[in-house]
Structures are given as C-alpha cells and as structure tokens.
C-alpha cells in the first residue's frame, strides 16, 4: 500500500535527503543491500499480507498447468493472490496470467448484476436474479417441449432435444461440469453439450 509523505519545505527536504542518502552510509561500511538501503519510509512500511484476516488455498483459473495459489483476504475482499510455495507444480511461482488473478477478481469491468436484453432492444436493462432464473427456466421448458423428439419413425428411442445447446465447462469446477452434464443431458435430453476441449 502506498503512503504519501507530508509536504515539506525545501530546506527540510534537503536535510532529509542528506540524512537518507545511502552513499555516505555505504562508504561508512553499511551493507548496500541492507542497512544502507533503508529509508525512513521503508521503516514504516509493513507487508500488505499482515492485514489479511483470512488466507485460503486456490488454483490458478487460467491454464491447465494447475499452479497453486494463496488468496489473502480482509473483510471479505481479496487483497492479494500469490503462488503457493508448497506446490510441487509451481513452487510459489506464477506466470503473468496467474499473477493477474488478483486483477481478475477486482477488475473494474467486473459485472455484479444480472442484465437482460429484450429482443430488438438497443441496450441492457437490469433485472433481479430471481426474475432471470424464473424466465430462463420457463424458456428452457418451452423450447424443450417444442423440440423434444421421443423416437424415430421406426421406433428407435431418441429422447433428445436438438433445440437447446450449451457451451463452456473448461473454466469450471469438476463438480459444476458434473451438474451441467447431469441436468442438461441426463435430465433434459440436450445433446448439443460442448466445452472448449476442441477449441
């Protein structure tokens, strides 16, 4: 976290510069990587992670290498994400994508409300989660009932609908994929169920 030093006059700043300048200290024999490098401001800084009231284990949401992460949070919000040093996969490291996980969770472009676009509309409108869920369930039932085929003319069973499709899954949890396959395929008879495995 950044802390701005208060504004001061020129003389005061010059004096402080002389006091803080590391070269004289190095000449006096201080280690240039340790004491000599210390400044007043660095003595007051504390690691951000100390502010966390919770840390949990996670896995990088980007690629399939599966780097382990630690998520630090305070008051129910993430404050930092880093590689888990225990992991034999990544040993604490992350690539530029994995290191962007905190930026992903806190992106200013993130959406937190349900949006709905009426056919032909030129803009979104906000709707409640409940309304969206009811409306989607209704549409699924209507489309399914209109397109369900029980069997072929020769009696071969089909029990399917070609009218509803689903895409996605490779970014989701195993348990989520399981529910999707179970409901969409096993419950509703959808066959166009696909994820990114082929793309």
């Amino acid at each position: 976290m950044s802390r701005q030093p208060p504004r001061r006059g020129l003389a005061e700043r010059a004096a402080e510069f002389a006091r803080e300048w590391s070269v004289p200290r190095q000449l006096r024999g201080a280690d240039h990587r340790r004491e000599a490098a210390e400044a007043a401001i660095s003595r007051t800084l504390r690691p951000r992670l100390e502010e966390a009231d919770r840390v949990g284990t996670s896995i990088c949401p980007y690629c399939a290498v599966g780097c382990a992460q630690l998520i630090y949070a305070r008051d129910g919000r993430p404050i930092h994400v880093e590689g888990d040093p225990r992991s034999p996969v990544n040993q604490g490291t992350l690539c530029p994508k994995g290191a962007a996980t905190f930026g992903l969770m806190t992106s200013p472009m993130r959406l937190d409300r349900c949006l709905h676009r009426v056919p032909g509309a030129t803009a979104w409108r906000e709707v409640t989660l409940d309304w969206a869920m009811d409306r989607i369930a209704h549409l699924v039932r209507r489309t399914r009932d209109e397109t369900f085929v029980k069997d072929l003319p020769d009696g071969t069973p089909l029990n399917h609908t070609l009218g509803i499709a689903s895409m996605g899954g490779a970014t989701l949890d195993n348990e989520e994929n399981y529910l999707i396959k179970k409901l969409f395929s096993g419950g509703l008879g959808m066959v166009f169920v696909e994820n990114q495995a082929r793309v």
Partner: protein
C-alpha cells in the same frame, strides 16, 4: 506424465507447442532437465522463446508435422535405433495383420476400406489376422459386420504374432513399407526443415532413449488443430512406443492443455459424445437401443474395459436413484441418444440453420474462440434466447450491439431478435470446487471470499435451474419428462443457497446404494445397482467422510521420491505415471537403476514403486492366461502386458479399430494449402470433416487468390477467448492490441513496415490489424515457388482494455475426422497494406465503445 517428471528427461521434444510462452511454469521443468544436461528440441513454424531456449530448433511449414515425425519413425526403423527389448513385448509391432489390408502406399494416399459414397473408412480390412479388435476408445464398438461375435475370438488366445518380425504382414514390415518414402530429402521438401537439422533431431531422440535414458514429447493444440491432428499425435506416440519412452521416468507424452479444468471437463465431459469416465453417449444408429445391447456392444471381452457394465450401471444409479430399476434398464432409456456429430463446429452450423433455438454459454467466448466468427455471430442472431454467464460482459454477450453484423454487416440491433441474459459468475477463489490439471491431478480450491453482488457459481446456477425445472415438470405424466422427474437432485445448500461442492464430489466418487457409504475406489463398483458413482475414474478421491483427497497438500520433501502422492489426487487411484508397469522389463526388473520406477518384489509377491502401480498389484510377471478356460477381462492380460486399457494389453503402433482416417499416420496437406501433396495423389485427408454452408466457403489447393500460409497462436499475457485477460488492467497493458507477425521478405515486397495497418482475408472474411515485421517466420521454397507464412494471435475482440479484430473471422469450419477439432493452425490467406472500409468508419479494432 506428471509435469515435474520432465526434469528427469534426457531429451525433450517440444512440438505443436510454444511451451515457454504458453505453459511457462511447466516449462521450468524442461529447463531443469536442460540444466542437468538434457537436449531440448523445438520444432515449430515460428521461432519463439521456446526455440530460443532449445539446443536444436527445427523450422517446419505449418501443417507438415506428420511428414516430419514420419521421417523420424523411418530413420529409427531403417537404422535399427528402436528399443527392441521394450517394443517387441510391449507393442503390437510383431502382430500379424489380415490379408485384406492395403496400405496408403498402394492406394496413392488411400488406405483399404475407403467408401466413396459415404466418404468414410470401414476398418474391416485393418484387423489382425482372424481377430476383430474393439476400439480402446470411449466407443469400443466399431461398425463392422458381426462385430460383437467377432471380438469374442479374443477369449481364445492373443492375436497372432511373429516375434522374429519376418512375416510380411507383421506390423513392423507394414510400417517399414509405409514410411519408406519419408526420407530426409522428402522431409526437407515437404516441411522445409533443412536435412542436417532434421538428422540432428533424429540422432538426439535415438541417443536419449533406451535402457538408461528417456525422452519426453510435449505438445499442445499446435498438433490438435489440424485436419490431421489425431494422426500427428499418433505419430508422436508411435515414436515414443518404438523408443520405449512410455510409462518410464522422464519419458512419455505430455499434452499441454489450455484451460484450468479442460482435463476435468473432458473426464466429466460437458461434451456431446461421452458420459462421465469415457463411457460412450448412446447413439441412435448403433446397437444401443437397450441397456443390454449397449453393454454387449461396448464391453471389451478382454482388458480392463471388461468392467464397463459396472461403471455404466453405477452412473445410472447416481443419476436416477430410486427410479432406476432392473426392469427399466436402470433408466438407460432416459439418457438422450445422439444421431451424429453434435460437437462445437456442427453446433455453430446448427445455430445458423435454426435447429438450435436456445443457448447457454458458461465461461466461454465463442465469438472470439470459435472458427468462422461471422457464421457464429449470424447464428447467435438467429437464436430465440441466449444465457451468458461470465465475470463481465464478453464479446459473445454483446454481439447484438457491437458485433460485426452491426458494425459492418448492415444490421441494426433492432433487427436482432435474440433475447439475451448476462449473469455475473463467481471466480475460483469465490467458490469451492476441484479442477483437474493437464496431468490428471485433481486440486481443490477453497472459497475464500464471497462473490460480488449477484455473482453466483455454476453450482448455484445449475442446481437452482434444475430445482425450478423439476418443479415445472413435477405434475407431468408424459414419458418424455420421466428423466427430469427421476433425476436425483438433493444437495445440501448453505444460507445463500449455494450447494455443497463436497457433496457433489462424493457423488462423483461413489457410494453404496441405498445407504450411501463412500467407496474406497472403483474396484468396489458393482453392476447390480448396489453402487452409485458419478464418474468411475475419479473414484477414490473422497473415500471417507472428511477425506477430500483433492484437497491434500503434502508434497514430498527434497529427500522424497518426487511422486508427490500426498499432493492432490491423480486419477485413476492416485497413479502419477500411467502404464508404469512398462518401466520394468518383462521379468519385472527395472530397465536400469537410473530409470527405476516399478519392479516386482518376489519376497512380497507384489509390484513395488514410489508411485501407485497402474497394473494389478499382485499379478506376477510370468502370469500367462489359461486360454483353455476362455479367460475374460484382466484374466486375459498376461503379467508382461502393461497396457491394460487395450484389449490385447500392448501399445498399438498400428491401430485396427477406432480411427476414422487410417490405421497409420500419413501426410496430407491442410484442407487449404498452397501446394499439392508431394507424397500422394490424395492431397488432403479424404476423411477430413467439412460442413458445406454458404457462410463457410473453403477454397481448393493452390488457389492463387490466397497465396500465403496463415497460422494462429497464443500470447503469454492473454488467455484463449481473451475475456479473463483483456479485461484485466495488468495483462491488457502488457499486450494492449492485436497484431500479425509478417515475415520481413514479404513485408518488404508489399511495402509494409511494423505498426502499419494491414488487411488479411480468406474466403470467410477480412480483418484489419497492425503489422509486426519479423524474421521469426521464414519463407519456404516449395516446388519452385516462394511461400510465406503469417501468424496471428487469436485472443482479441472488441471488449476490454486490450482490443483487436477477431482472428477467427478468417478461419473455416473444417476439422479432424476423429475429434471434430478445427483446422486453425494451417490455412491460407491474402494480405495487403491498408485498412478495411467499414460502415462505422474506422475498423472495429480501434473503435471506442
């Protein structure tokens, strides 16, 4: 193979992958191997950071991988550099084929069995002498005359072999003839790779294989995304099996997969053709009309897949619970039948043809990621409704406002009748669950913070959608609604209504029915309805209450064996290296001390290893089936046959069943290629999947209007369809806009300098982007003319901080016959300096939203 095992390799061939940039953290293990003296090879059309770190860089023309690998296979056979003691017992190299087989050499690129009317192969003539082999794939059934009866012959004895390799129809002799023309000169002519460089690659691979040494191959979608993708991977597998680099430390094939849980979503497939655990989705035109016929057709007589009925019945019990009973085939009728290919590419066409009317999109961005983006966008405009679930507005969600139809296609949002929902989704730290990584490792992630606002997990969404639909259908008495009514859908939920992910993982793991005692592993599964299991290969991940093994976080210490059995859970049964029986010789002794992994412990009468054994633990190496008793299942697999999932227990160099484009790899040109095939009269793969549609034109070989080769690639800083990085400030700043890599000679000829605007076009469409003039791509002289290659990163779209035109506007709906994967790594295009004239004035890429 586990990624960390790459550190034990003596040689690593990276091909079809830019591993340093796209799987950077896994590439650390390649560099560790290098630091220990391993030879690193990169074969690729582009010189990348992976090439920069390699000892040998082999440049090849995009789409010529089979020619390159086929050349290595020929070299290894011709100079007797293969690992005989390993390959003769552990592969089908000595197996004798039937008399009807004709090789592509004799058919000018066509194997026997080609049927012109249906444009398909029949694999009847590819069988072993006197035996019909079931496929080792999800669908074991192959459509041949009397299949089920013919495969029963496997109970009577192993397929005929000639261990002296003299028989003219043994696989060794067939392969030698098949690859005879893949000489270094031919390799140079087809791939453009200089002969000396190619020979250096051959020598490095051969030198680093055998008893004492192992070589690994790492590949990614640079192999898959061709009309011959599966055969490219097969070529790599054949090479590894010849060299004995399978199931051994530092040896194997590592598929570097893209998304965090893409492996998990293949194992528990949100895919059309499979049920969880690689069981085939029933098919209307196969003998799948009843459970009995399905089990009969799909159960392999020999090998591990003999257990198939246990897995299928336990899945049905998990899905349909009480309603599943022997009288109704455990609910098998309710499982929907497929009638053809319903994968990603035909799905796109089906939207456009108004077969599909409603669409869910959960964490995917098909407008950017799917081939032929204009066709996709028109398809979305043809839908009645679409539900997009993501963490932000995606290009797909906003196609009706900002897409190409509106910007340059003359449509107005008012004309687009699709009802669209955009629902905020939770990310991994905001929900609990497991991901399966690229080496089959299940790793749990915790819920650390709540998701913002109305964001919810997909657990929540699918669970509550299911609840509502069960309510809507509760009163129905129609037969077609039985499945949704019968579906078991009871999961404990928390105060926010979030279902307990561990309860779902327990169902996946399996339990006894009806008292729900968790199962220790899949060996406990039964076919009598007394067990329920959502995905048999994951069984063992949750063996007891409170023991979620995907959450285990106990790595080996520095002195440990390095298999890390206490970190996560690898399916099946926590085995880290598959087929690891092959790391010991037929007698059960390690091939060498240096490459020790599994061995037979005579005192304990069992196999020993720091890994879990991928073989029956107490099966003696000298066990031989008693053929007089017609053994079935694992009883028919000897103690010397490590490949237990394959009906005859050995690796298939030649594949008699299961492939749709030939039993051996042959070089075919990409569907859109600048040149004709130098090897065969059959220029492109005859079986390549094509979908005729007015919106999907494809041109023929050597069309002068599209003279340059085009390939696509990915950047370190962006992820696939781009949503999770183009919308994040740091990654967007690192790679802020789209571009195309253009070779210096071509740029000079056309007067293009770096940062200039250029227009790239194909028969599907045109895009504009900035030029990055570079020597990373080299031109080839092919049959007397110069061919240039252009490379495009494909992550970009109009949403986010980092934008650019959509590369997939250029690509075609054309794909591999086995997987339906698109051919986006090798096509052809035209290039000119300048910009597109678009209705909105400036190009899409630079327009502010």
């Amino acid at each position: 193979m586990p990624q960390w095992d790459l550190a034990n390799s003596d040689c690593v061939l990276v091909m079809g992958s830019n591993m340093a940039e796209n799987h950077p953290i896994a590439f650390r293990f390649v560099l560790q191997a290098k630091a220990r003296g391993a030879t690193i090879i990169h074969a690729d059309p582009r010189f990348t950071r992976t090439s920069a770190m390699a000892d040998i860089y082999a440049p090849i023309r995009a789409g010529t991988d089979v020619a390159f690998l086929g050349g290595i296979i020929r070299h290894v056979l011709e100079h007797d550099l293969w690992f005989r003691e390993w390959a003769i017992p552990y592969t089908n190299i000595a197996t004798i084929l039937g008399e009807d087989y004709r090789d592509a050499e004799d058919g000018d690129g066509l194997f026997s069995g080609w049927q012109e009317e249906s444009r398909k192969y029949s694999p009847e003539s590819w069988q072993y002498e006197g035996v019909t082999m079931p496929s080792a794939l999800a669908e074991s059934y192959v459509d041949t005359e009397g299949f089920c009866e013919a495969t029963k012959r496997l109970h009577e004895g192993p397929p005929p072999r000639d261990p002296t390799l003299q028989h003219p129809r043994c696989v060794y002799q067939v392969m030698k003839r098949h690859f005879a023309r893949y000489t270094p000169e031919m390799v140079e002519r087809v791939t453009g790779c200089p002969r000396e460089v190619f020979l250096k690659v051959c020598e490095a691979l051969a030198r680093n294989s055998g008893r004492e040494r192992t070589t690994a191959i790492c590949y990614a979608v640079g192999w898959n995304h061709h009309s011959t993708g599966v055969q490219i991977i097969r070529s790599g597998a054949i090479l590894q099996a010849l060299l004995g680099n399978v199931g051994r430390p530092g040896g194997g094939m590592l598929a570097l997969r893209g998304h965090t849980s893409i492996q998990g979503s293949t194992d528990i497939p949100t895919l059309y053709d499979m049920l969880p655990g690689y069981l085939p989705q029933p098919h209307a035109f196969k003998p799948h009309s009843t459970l009995e016929s399905y089990l009969d057709a799909e159960t392999s007589p020999t090998g591990w897949w003999r257990n198939f009925p246990k897995y299928a019945v336990s899945l049905l019990r998990a899905w349909y619970g009480e309603a599943a009973a022997p009288e109704n085939g455990w609910g098998f009728d309710w499982v929907p039948r497929i009638v053809g290919d319903h994968s990603q590419l035909p799905l796109t066409v089906a939207m456009r043809n108004r077969i599909i009317r409603g669409l869910f999109v959960m964490g995917q961005n098909p407008v950017v990621g799917s081939s032929n983006s204009l066709l996709v966008q028109r398809g979305l405009a043809d839908l009645d409704w679409m539900v997009v679930r993501d963490f932000a507005e995606t290009d797909t969600a906003s196609f009706w406002r900002d897409g190409h139809l509106v910007r340059s296609g003359g449509m107005r949002p008012e004309d687009i009748r699709t009802e669209v929902f955009l629902m905020p989704a939770a990310l991994s730290g905001e929900k609990a669950g497991s991901f399966t990584n690229t080496h089959r490792l299940l790793q749990w992630h915790d819920k650390v913070v709540p998701p913002p606002g109305d964001s919810r997990s997909e657990h929540w969404f699918v669970y509550h959608l299911g609840r509502r639909l069960k309510d809507l259908y509760a009163a129905s008495e129609r037969e077609e609604d039985r499945a949704i009514r019968a579906l078991t859908w009871e999961y404990p939920v928390d105060d926010e209504g979030e279902p307990d992910a561990e309860a779902i993982l327990q169902e996946i793991n399996g339990y006894t029915w009806p008292d729900r005692t968790l199962l220790p592993d899949f060996e406990a599964l039964k076919e009598d309805g007394s067990t329920a299991c959502g995905c048999w290969i994951y069984s063992g991940v949750f063996p007891k209450p409170g023991e979620n093994r995907s959450r285990a976080r106990r790595p080996d210490g520095p002195e440990g064996p390095g298999t890390h059995l206490g970190w996560g859970f690898a399916w099946p049964s926590n085995r880290r290296t598959l087929n690891n029986r092959a790391s010991a010789d037929p007698e059960g002794r390690p091939w060498s001390e240096r490459k020790r992994l599994v061995w037979w412990d005579e005192a304990k009468q069992e196999w020993a290893s720091p890994d879990q054994i991928d073989f029956p633990k107490d099966k003696r190496p000298d066990y031989e089936p008693d053929w007089s008793r017609k053994p079935a299942g694992m009883d028919a697999i000897s103690g010397r046959q490590p490949f237990i999932m394959i009906p005859d227990g050995v690796a298939g160099l030649f594949v008699p069943s299961g492939l749709k484009d030939g039993p051996l790899p042959a070089h075919y040109e990409p569907v859109e290629s600048p040149v004709a095939n130098p090897l065969y009269g059959q220029s492109i793969s005859p079986a390549a999947k094509r979908w005729e549609h007015a919106d999907n034109p494809v041109h023929g070989t050597g069309d002068p209007r599209w003279p340059h080769v085009l390939t696509t690639f990915r950047l370190t800083e962006h992820h696939s369809g781009g949503t999770p990085t183009r919308l994040v400030p740091t990654t967007a700043e690192l790679q802020p806009e789209g571009f195309a890599e253009i070779p210096t000679e071509l740029a000079r000829a056309l007067g293009i300098r770096s940062t200039d605007w250029v227009v790239i076009s194909t028969p599907r469409g045109a895009i504009e982007t900035r030029a990055l003039v570079t020597d990373r791509l080299r031109p080839w002289r092919l049959d007397g003319r110069m061919v240039h290659q252009i490379a495009l990163p494909w992550h970009f779209g109009w949403v986010g901080y980092a934008t650019g035109d959509v590369a997939n506007v250029l690509t075609a709906v054309v794909g591999d016959p086995n997987t339906g994967m698109h051919e986006n790594k090798a096509l052809t295009c035209a290039l000119r300096p300048g910009r597109l004239r678009r209705a909105g004035g400036a190009g899409v890429a630079r327009e502010a939203r």
